[in-house]
Symmetry: C2
Subunit: 303 residues, 2 copies
């Protein structure tokens, strides 16, 4: 397994019997990233026995309740469960103003710090990076400032061919440099070009999360070719007028973005409460982009 | 049916697979009263198809997250569902300070007003009444200011015996007075005592809600003889030290209160997340007070 996306909630503003409001957990490179945190996120996590010890970063796309009302309960419970690593919340700066008084009142003695990392949803920029992963904002088109997130593995080293180490008697101290692309000179002075010694690095994993948004082709250059795209599909095409009015997308529009951006796979979600069965949404999307799957609460997708 | 209590969530601070945080819906006299509103209350309501058009009053026992983190989501969704009657929130005055900025930010154009009705949890007093129902606070013993609630039907009129109206030719305009206890004088001047004309009124329905609290006998005079008592039972007796330290009760203690207060029936709940099966809690309580039932999420109790 390279990466795993778990849909915690695939609903929208009004939760339904089966769909909690939006939240997702992305796991790769031994890290866990929580994306949005609607009401009941911590409850779904308990229902799934989802381990969350490695959550250190939470990304909030925008400040509508169905994307952030679960934060207080989650943080409060993390406190009781002896979560120890600090929690960084990447969100529009207004969230800090709204949450600080609540954290002070309800979560006085947490065993970790809650650190707010303000983002500007209007621009496409790197908002988090460490040694192996980087996260960028994807400006979206919604009724309030809103952005998606592009999670990318950083380019890894080339893979050295084991047999070549023995054959050319490559000393250990040179292996690092060769993995980074350098050629090798044998003791006899023969130059061995790098491409004879190594194979190309595994292509980095890329996941793009786009919710909530009206149809906008501006995101295509940013998400071009990702391994997995989550794109909201609040409505079906027969509710296009409503999608436009509320600045959401239809299943068909989500698929059009996936097709134009040449992504490997599309998952749709953020369904309006009016759809109790989702097959029609899936069919609508698949007519445009075959590699589409339905996002479902408590289901994981490996990629 | 006289009254119906629906347990929306029977859990405590940490939600579990089956137990959402605390919330209850009490229905009687064509009214709906929501008691506490932990995270996920609106979700459970949707899961139960619970109609909530008649909720106009919400009673919050204390400001711990598991009793109030569901308020923002609930109110926000009521707005989208075109709930029209005003919502009165009876709670410690701090709640207004915490919620006002959030309501302003997330719920700008609600089709109803949210009215905060501050209560003083330290005293036993009437905090709400209308023509047929009154609600009083029950001071509890917890780590923060906390009170339970006593819901009481107001005494109804005596029942006039139909045959007596015909026999004594009682005029319609006198019936109201007789129902209220007056005697009747016939045209011939004969005095008919009230108890010959009427039967006693149906005894008023009384429900007492006591969560969260350490064992305290001070509540007994207030809840004496109620039809139904909900008393928290966070722990079992073998965790008595923990119950004391956190100012909660054991199942045995809840039953002792029920017995001493001579209530008709006890429901326990607010279970610690450590108990995946609740039978042992029920058995412990029933050893002291036989008429005990387990509170369970999404279950209704008529009384």
């Amino acid at each position: 397994m390279n990466a795993k996306l778990t849909i915690i909630g695939s609903g929208s503003a009004l939760p339904t019997k089966n769909n909690f409001p939006t939240s997702q957990l992305l796991e790769f490179r031994n890290k866990q990233f929580l994306i949005d945190c609607g009401e009941g996120t911590q409850i779904r996590m308990r229902q799934m026995n989802l381990k969350n010890n490695h959550i250190g970063h939470i990304f909030i796309s925008h400040l509508h309740g169905d994307h952030c009302f679960g934060l207080m309960g989650l943080i409060s419970s993390f406190g009781m469960l002896n979560h120890t690593s600090d929690i960084h919340i990447h969100a529009h700066p207004d969230l800090e103003k709204l949450m600080k008084p609540q954290l002070k009142y309800f979560c006085e003695q947490l065993p970790f710090q809650v650190i707010f990392c303000p983002i500007n949803p209007a621009v496409n920029e790197i908002i988090f990076e460490d040694r192996t992963v980087q996260v960028s904002s994807i400006p979206l088109k919604h009724r309030v400032p809103c952005c998606g997130f592009l999670f990318e593995e950083k380019s890894s080293d080339r893979h050295i061919i084991r047999e070549m180490i023995d054959f050319y008697k490559i000393p250990v101290w040179q292996i690092g440099k060769i993995k980074q692309g350098e050629d090798f000179t044998t003791e006899e002075g023969e130059l061995i070009p790098n491409d004879k010694l190594t194979l190309p690095p595994t292509s980095p994993i890329r996941y793009a999360y786009c919710s909530d948004t009206a149809y906008t082709e501006k995101i295509i250059p940013i998400i071009e070719g990702v391994d997995l795209l989550f794109h909201e599909a609040t409505f079906m095409e027969d509710e296009l007028f409503r999608a436009k009015a509320t600045q959401h997308s239809t299943a068909r529009q989500a698929a059009e973005i996936a097709k134009k951006a040449n992504v490997k796979k599309l998952i749709i979600g953020h369904y309006s409460a009016r759809y109790s069965h989702k097959t029609a949404l899936l069919n609508e999307a698949r007519q445009v982009f075959e590699h589409t799957e339905l996002g479902e609460d408590m289901k994981s997708y490996e990629f």
